[in-house]
Amino acid sequence: MPGSVARKVSAALLAILLGTMAAAGVFTYSKLESVSASLVRSRYAVQVLSIKRNVEDRLNLGFPLRQLRPIQDVVEREKAGDPEIVDIQIFDAHGEVVFDSDRGSVGTVVPSNWLNSLGNGEDFAADDDRVVGLPLINGFGQVEGGVVLHYPSASLERGMGPTAMRLLGKAAVLLAVFAPLAVLGSYLLLNKVARRLATMGTILGKVVAEGGEVVPDDGSDALETGFAAFATRIREATDRIRAASDDVERLDRLT
């Protein structure tokens, strides 16, 4: 169908179909990812809350944070219980890590923006995709430090990867089915119009070249009736001007 109306309409339909599938796919995947990420995060938040309570119970007994040596075992046990956890850290109010599931990191300093948000009492690492953090508050309401849990993006990606691939595959299959349908539908809808226009063009050529009259069928529409009148008028004008030319030629030869 080179240079055809059906091709243009098909192209428009295909572009719309592709755009719609892409938009729906992206939005759907993004929603899946956001809900899944929120669930994974909240699961780790439960573990952080558990450690927080454990530490705060001991702080409330009057022990300073640095002297809560059993907490080192708690964080190591929690990490051992879930191999996906990357690291669990407990730091003091100055940001120095005092207990860490990776003992080599004890003594390091946490990012300063965490310290600035500790006083809010909520997850101070909420802007960080792969970290959950809660402040440690003693019985007098003073911030003693914080507990953070680092988890890998892999746990989310493992769940989302196959889903994304499945969505993509499904979208491709649907496109492969519905794109030809769109083309076929456009062709069927417009083919009749195209054929009739081509026929009228041919008829007009014949009328101009060979003469004759165009008589519209019963039930012809306005365009066909108009075309019949047009073709007849063209033929009539052609004949009349040719006759006039003949007359002029004849007169010209009169001497």
Partner: protein
């Protein structure tokens, strides 16, 4: 045969578009739902196991200290934050060995106890869940010295995943609805430009030829079947024209060279016979005439308005997230950028109209795109409310230029007799774009955030410019400088009491309600009620869809009945009453009701109001031109648009969001009643056509 023109073809193509869009999207949506359920359920169970294990550890510690399980205290306070933080968990319970509920938070004991008493939890595999009505129950043993003394039950909401899935399906439905509207716009453009437009030109050519007129040919450049058909017609006309030119040349030759005056006279008679029967172009060949279609500009206008409307569901909330100035209340600071945008649109509209008349629509569209796109990009980069106000002003100027350029193009593309149809092209594009923009804006901002949503809008605006550059024909002939509306015209118009009453008691309050409520209060109010951006967008869609559906119906009704003042007054009263709905205190349902009523009100009054202006200002329309009268009317309306957010912001600190909506509703209702009474003195309205 039905060559169709496009009348029956367009709906059939729309049906095809619906079929090829709805089916795959529905299948994709349901497939995603299935995958989502499969993916999320294990994650929730995993989480419930962790919560259960953690709580059980702490309970184990307590009972190992020797506290009997039925005498534990403070469990309500212990369970409450866990349930609050995890919406997918519906209850936490502790039962003894017989299944008797000792402690429970979340649901009534009667819902669970029969199940607990009748289930042998010893037979269950650790981590296995059992379904109790709407809940999936996970039982974790509480151990004292290694002996089970009770069970901790973690109840998961089995509908949680369904709810999340439903949200996805709604989003997919919104994308689908927007796509269908977009498809209808694109298909309309393709059909008009490629089929109905050229065939319309062909029809007019055939009609001219039928009357012996061979002077004009349609200028069609497409090479498809329709283009070839028109070229074929043109070829036939050119053939006749060529014969005529040959004859005319021969006649001239005979007249100039023949020695016999009788022959010359008789040749002249022959030539006059042809000239009397047919008309040919005097300048040597038929002239090619390029016809413009109102639809040429519809797609660029649609895309630009769509881009601008994307920010509708979140703009006040974005403003709130930016640092503000201390000398304005937070509410007023949120209202100012919206009001400034409206003021710029209103203030620059008359100038934009004059500019369009002088320099043509395409140039003004492209020039208007510069501040509009710059404003959208910089709005995304704004560091403060002051920055944002400045860039919204720039977008407002661009908006005024572009909309006036489009209106001007449409006005020049349609015949005087079909001005209403032309206005329909403009209003249709703007309203459809509003629905799409509002709907997609909410979905988009949830995914990409405020700033990126503005960048997407800027990209769409650039695309609209490219389309305008390609599709909108440049002005080929210089137009006479049109007379711009002046302050004197405005004063003269306001001297017409009917017009003043219409503006002060109907047009301005209704615009105040529109911008104050729809653009400003609704996003803020719904956000405060815990709705997300997607929910806000869907609520706003109720307004826009109501207007889209109702406006054309009411326009026809108003034309038939001539009851324009009545419809305008009814719209005002309905809108005012609807805005009182928040006084019922039904939360988001009140807002929904108010939006539906406001949509009905705008749908009822918008079209009749425009016609009523030309009715009551018949003399002014003759004196200053109808376009100028309508431009001044639009300018006055913008006063209401600008005042709406500011008035709402002033009331919020005193009466809250509900109170502000009610206050605007009371204002609209009171002014509508005054208008209704005053309109009885209008007398029988003269039809607009007479006025024109």
């Amino acid at each position: 045969m039905t060559l169709d023109g496009s009348r029956s073809l367009y709906p059939r193509l729309l049906v095809l578009a619906i079929l090829v869009l709805v089916s795959p999207l529905a299948l994709l949506g349901f497939d995603a739902m299935d995958g989502f359920e499969k993916g999320l359920t294990p994650e929730i169970e995993h989480k419930a196991a962790i919560v259960g294990g953690d709580l059980a550890d702490q309970l184990d510690r307590a009972v190992n200290y020797g506290i009997p399980i039925d005498q534990l205290v403070g469990l309500d306070e212990f369970f409450a934050p866990v349930l609050d933080a995890n919406r997918e968990l519906r209850y936490l319970a502790i039962t003894d060995g017989d299944g008797k509920v000792l402690f429970l938070r979340g649901v009534p004991a009667a819902d669970l106890e029969p199940h607990f008493r009748n289930t042998d939890f010893d037979l269950m595999v650790p981590g296995q869940t059992s379904v109790i009505g709407d809940y999936a129950d996970l039982a974790v043993p509480i151990l004292a010295d290694g002996t089970r003394v009770g069970l901790l039950h973690v109840g998961m909401d089995v509908h949680y995943v369904h709810h999340r899935v439903a949200e996805i399906l709604i989003d997919v439905a919104v994308v689908l609805a927007v796509s269908l509207l977009l498809a209808s716009e694109i298909l309309m453009f393709v059909v008009v430009v490629n089929i109905s437009g050229p065939l319309g030109q062909a029809r007019r050519l055939m009609e001219r030829v039928r009357h012996g007129d061979f002077t004009l040919l349609p200028w069609v450049v497409t090479s498809d079947e329709v283009g070839r058909f028109v070229q074929c017609l043109n070829g036939a006309v050119r053939g006749v024209d060529q014969l005529y030119r040959t004859l005319a040349a021969y006649v001239e030759e005979v007249r100039g060279a023949h020695f016999d005056p009788t022959v010359v006279e008789r040749v002249g008679v022959v030539a006059e016979g042809i000239d009397a029967a047919y008309r040919f172009a005097p300048d040597g060949a038929p002239k090619l005439r390029h016809e413009r279609h109102a639809v040429d500009v519809r797609l660029p206008l649609f895309l630009f308005t769509f881009a601008e409307e994307l920010s509708r569901p979140f703009l006040p909330l974005y403003i709130r997230s930016l640092p503000s100035v201390t000398w304005l209340s937070p509410e007023m600071a949120m209202a100012v950028p919206i009001a400034v945008f409206m003021a710029c649109v209103g203030g620059f509209t008359p100038w934009a109209g004059t500019l369009t008349a002088r320099h043509g629509s395409r140039l003004v569209f492209l020039v208007g795109l510069v501040p509009a796109v710059l404003g959208l990009v910089m709005a995304g980069l704004a560091e403060s409310m002051v920055d944002l106000t400045l860039w919204r002003a720039a977008t407002g100027i661009g908006y005024a230029l572009i909309t006036m350029a489009c209106q001007g193009y449409i006005a020049r593309s349609v015949h005087e007799s079909s001005r209403t149809q032309g206005l329909g092209v403009f209003v249709g594009a703007v309203l459809t774009a509003s629905v799409c923009g509002m709907a997609l804006g909410g979905v988009l901002v949830e995914r990409v955030g405020f700033r990126d949503a503005f960048f997407v809008a800027a990209g769409l605006a650039v695309l609209s410019g490219l389309l305008a550059w390609r599709m909108v024909e440049p002005e080929t002939e210089r137009r006479e400088r049109e007379r711009a509306p002046t302050l004197r015209d405005m004063i003269a118009l306001l001297g017409n009491w009917r017009f003043t009453v219409l503006m002060v008691f109907s047009a301005i309050p209704s615009k105040m309600a529109l911008t104050g409520v729809v653009f400003f209060l609704v996003p803020l109010h719904l956000w405060s009620l815990g709705c997300g951006f997607g929910d806000i967008a869907r609520m706003l869609m109720v307004y826009a869809v109501t207007v889209v559906v109702l406006s054309p119906l009411v326009a026809r009704l108003a034309d038939r009945s001539g009851w324009r003042a009545g419809l305008v007054a009814s719209g005002g009263v309905l809108g005012g009453l609807g805005l009182l709905a928040p006084a019922l205190g039904l939360g988001s349902d009140s807002v929904l009701l108010a939006l539906a009523c406001l949509g009905l009100a705008q749908g009822l009054s918008a079209s009749p109001q425009m016609v009523l202006v030309t009715d009551v200002c018949a003399a002014e329309c003759r004196a200053f031109d109808r376009t100028n009268v309508l431009a001044l009317c639009r300018l006055l309306e913008r006063i209401g648009s600008t005042a709406g957010p500011l008035a709402a912001a002033a009331v919020i600190p005193l009466a809250g969001y509900d109170g502000a909506m009610v206050a605007l509703g009371a204002l609209v209702l009171a002014t509508a009643l005054v208008f209704a009474v005053a309109a009885t003195a209008y007398g029988r309205a003269r039809p607009a056509e007479e006025a024109a």
